[in-house]
């Protein structure tokens, strides 16, 4: 079944590839088409520039070849437009419209120019000549008497006429309109001149001649004006109207190119993304196919070799010493069956071995624990030795030091002073002795007097209080024993020592308070009893809470005692498997908590 699925898959891939390539091919074709269109559009632009150029040449120079060129380019452009008409682009229609308007205008221009050329070349010339001739004729047949003045005047008129001609020509050359007004003025003057002649003339022939001249002059003038108007007319058409049409064509053609380019870019992007996507798709599906193949073949093989492998695996585990290895189920009693049975035996043996191993591990652990304890004791011992030597050394230094001073004073003859110092030596030695005693006492804790029995704290402490009366009165300390103290399993004398030492400390510092008191009470918890000793002394700052239990540690060097009291307390508590903790803040009294485990030992 898996194979069928794979086959279908391959088919799908082939189909997809086929369709994509088809699409891409089409896109390519479109792309090529668009670039062809661009080419066409560029050709249109080129033609527009050329056609206008030729039109201008024709307009200003009058070359017929230029006019012909315009016609040719126009037909070319019509062809180009029809070839791109299939693109169904509205701009093409716009261009066509403008081109038609352009060409129509041009035809008008041609006509006008033609007319003007005729006017200038033929009409104007003729009219000018006629007028000139007339005047000359008139001049010629001027009679004698005032010939000179008349001749002079006529000459002047003639000159004027020639000037007109000059101005007119100048206008058509330079197209400077000031020439027109000058020309017109001159013509008016000529007219006036002729009129003055007419007034004076009597001879009918001359009058007739003059009248004719005037008439020719009018024609002359009107031709000139018509030519000017026509010139202005077609100049306007070419430079303004046609230019505008040409520009619109240019503009639209350019826009078409832009659009084509954009289309081409879009197609390009499309093609690229399509190819990319298809490639991705092919890769993915290909990989999936491979996975499927692998999966299927694997399954087939597995169904055959599975039992064998399982068994082999089991034996492998068993050899590793596993006692949890799974024995695969196998009902048949063939070779594999007996192998399975052997596997079970193997497993049992493994289990036994492990049990033995565990036992030996436990023993080893115990050994190690003992070793650790031993080491700890050694450390403690080291600590102890260090502290002792240090603290014992101090009084020794003092003694020897003062002895030295005594000797020196003696040498100097200061006998009295020397004897005074002897006291100090004695005191120092006494102290040394005390220290040694305390140490001995400490070492006895836990070694000597180790029996424990149930001790009723109420009884013990009441007796204790009585015994301490003198001491209490001396410092004005109030000792309160709370009722219902528990019965603890402990060594009585040691416990007594604990309370003694605590009381000592309290008494030592009690002088600093107004109405000093010490309260002893208890609290019961699930696994142990908590006995507290609370006073309202100066309190102990937090940083010293651990230090005070240290050997020979004293808070103030001026205090009595060796600093061993609390150390003993701690040792006793440890001996009873309990703890001692202090709760105190400077200025707020101190509470010592003694923790006794409930008898379960």
């Amino acid at each position: 079944m898996g194979f069928i699925a794979s086959a279908l898959f391959s088919l799908t891939i082939i189909l997809v590839a086929f369709v994509t390539f088809n699409g891409t091919t089409k896109d390519f074709i479109d792309f090529v088409a668009f670039s062809k269109h661009s080419q066409n559009d560029m050709a249109i632009i080129k033609n527009i520039s050329e056609i206008q150029r030729q039109a201008l040449v024709f307009t200003y120079e009058g070359y017929l070849s230029a006019a012909e060129a315009v016609h040719n380019i126009h037909s070319d452009m019509l062809e180009q437009i029809s070839s791109v008409k299939d693109r169904d682009n509205r701009r093409v229609g716009v261009i066509e419209r403008h081109l038609n308007a352009y060409f129509e205008t041009f035809q008008q221009v041609e006509k006008e120019r033609q007319l003007r050329t005729e006017l200038v070349n033929l009409g104007f010339r003729n009219a000018a000549t006629r007028v000139e001739n007339n005047i000359v004729t008139y001049m010629k047949q001027l009679p004698g008497a005032d010939v000179s003045t008349k001749k002079f005047e006529s000459q002047r008129v003639l000159n004027r006429l020639l000037q007109v001609e000059k101005n007119v020509i100048r206008y058509f050359d330079t197209l400077d309109a000031s020439n027109i007004s000058i020309a017109k003025e001159s013509i008016t003057e000529v007219k006036r001149g002729l009129d003055s002649f007419l007034d004076r003339e009597e001879e009918s022939d001359s009058v007739e001649l003059l009248r004719q001249t005037k008439h020719s002059l009018d024609t002359y003038e009107s031709i000139f004006i018509e030519a000017v108007q026509r010139t202005r007319g077609y100049l306007f058409l070419v430079n303004v109207v046609m230019a505008a049409e040409a520009y619109e064509i240019l503009y639209n053609a350019k826009k078409m190119i832009e659009e084509s380019n954009r289309e081409m870019e879009t197609i390009e992007d499309e093609i690229i993304s399509t190819i990319y996507n298809v490639t991705k798709f092919l890769l993915v599906t290909g990989s999936v196919m491979i996975i499927l193949f692998v999966f299927f073949s694997y399954n087939i093989v597995r169904s055959i070799t599975e039992p064998v492998l399982k068994l082999a695996n089991t034996f492998h585990e068993l050899t590793q010493g596993s006692k949890e290895a799974e024995i695969p189920l196998y009902e048949l009693s063939d070779e594999i069956g007996s192998l399975t049975k052997a596997a079970s035996v193997f497993k049992e043996k493994n289990r036994e071995t492990e049990e033995l191993l565990n036992k030996s591990l436990m023993l080893t652990k115990e050994l190690e624990k003992n070793k650790a304890e031993l080491e700890r004791s050694n450390d403690e011992l080291e600590q102890f030795v260090y502290t002792v030597s240090h603290d014992l050394k101090s009084p020794l230094v003092t003694s020897m030091g003062f002895i030295g001073i005594i000797r020196k004073l003696a040498d100097q003859g200061k006998m009295n002073q020397a004897v005074e110092k002897l006291d100090r030596v004695v005191k120092s030695n006494e102290r040394m002795s005390q220290l040694i005693n305390d140490l001995l006492e400490l070492s006895r804790v836990g070694r000597i007097d180790k029996d424990k029995k149930p001790v009723d704290l109420n009884e013990m402490l009441t007796t204790f209080k009585d015994n301490q009366q003198t001491r209490l009165e001396r410092v004005g300390l109030t000792l309160t024993i709370k009722p219902q103290l528990p019965v603890i399993y402990a060594n009585e004398s040691r416990i007594l020592q604990v309370f003694e030492n605590i009381l000592s400390n309290t008494v030592k510092y009690a002088v600093q308070s107004d109405s000093p008191f010490l309260e002893i009470g208890s609290k019961e918890e699930e696994d142990h009893y908590l006995i507290y000793c609370k006073d309202n002394g100066p309190g102990i700052p937090v940083q010293y809470h651990k230090k005070i239990f240290g050997l020979f540690y004293r808070l103030g060097s001026k205090q009595e005692g060796t600093g061993i009291g609390l150390t003993v307390v701690k040792k006793v508590m440890n001996f009873h498997n309990g703890e001692v903790q202090v709760e105190s803040e400077e200025g707020k009294g101190a509470t010592f908590w003694l923790k006794f485990p409930k008898k379960k030992e």
């Binding site: 230094v397 003092t398 020897m400 030091g401 003062f402 001073i405 020196k408």
Partner: protein
């Protein structure tokens, strides 16, 4: 500047009154121009040291004798304070203690002590030791430095 101020200031941080008395005796016996100041616990000592330079009357000492086992602040704490102080670290510190444990010696020099002397237990030992220490530091050139610091 009076004669008295030219005196060298020696600080002695020692909690044991006896030891302090003995040391003081030998110092004043042998050296006229040493001004000895004794602090009996770390707290008082720190209070003075912190105020040097701020208070007019608290001058920089020329030498410090420091016991390790003093109450309130331990000798090591004071040593660390001194040796990390911008100005005070220039003052030589002599650890003068009963302990001769290796652990203590190592820690002292780790913290920058200038020397470590165990208190002697022979009768003549105290004077000799004191004299050796003071003479040695007199040979040292640091007097001018301390004077300039005190101006």
């Amino acid at each position: 500047m009076s004669e008295k101020e030219v005196q060298r200031l020696l600080l002695l941080v020692e909690d044991d009154d006896d030891h302090a008395e003995i040391a003081g005796y030998y110092i004043t016996e042998n050296y006229r121009d040493i001004n000895l100041m004794r602090f009996s616990d770390g707290d008082i000592a720190m209070k003075y040291l912190e105020k040097i330079g701020e208070d007019e009357d608290k001058k920089y000492p020329w030498l410090i004798f420091l016991d390790l086992k003093v109450p309130k602040y331990s000798g090591f704490e004071i040593l660390s304070f001194l040796k990390s102080h911008r100005m005070l670290k220039r003052v030589p510190v002599v650890i003068f203690t009963t302990s001769s444990a290796n652990k203590d010696i190592t820690e002292a020099f780790d913290k920058g002590a200038n020397s470590y002397i165990s208190k002697p237990i022979e009768p003549e030992g105290f004077e000799t030791t004191i004299r050796q220490i003071v003479d040695y530091w007199q040979t040292n050139q640091h007097m001018h430095l301390i004077s300039s610091m005190n101006q």
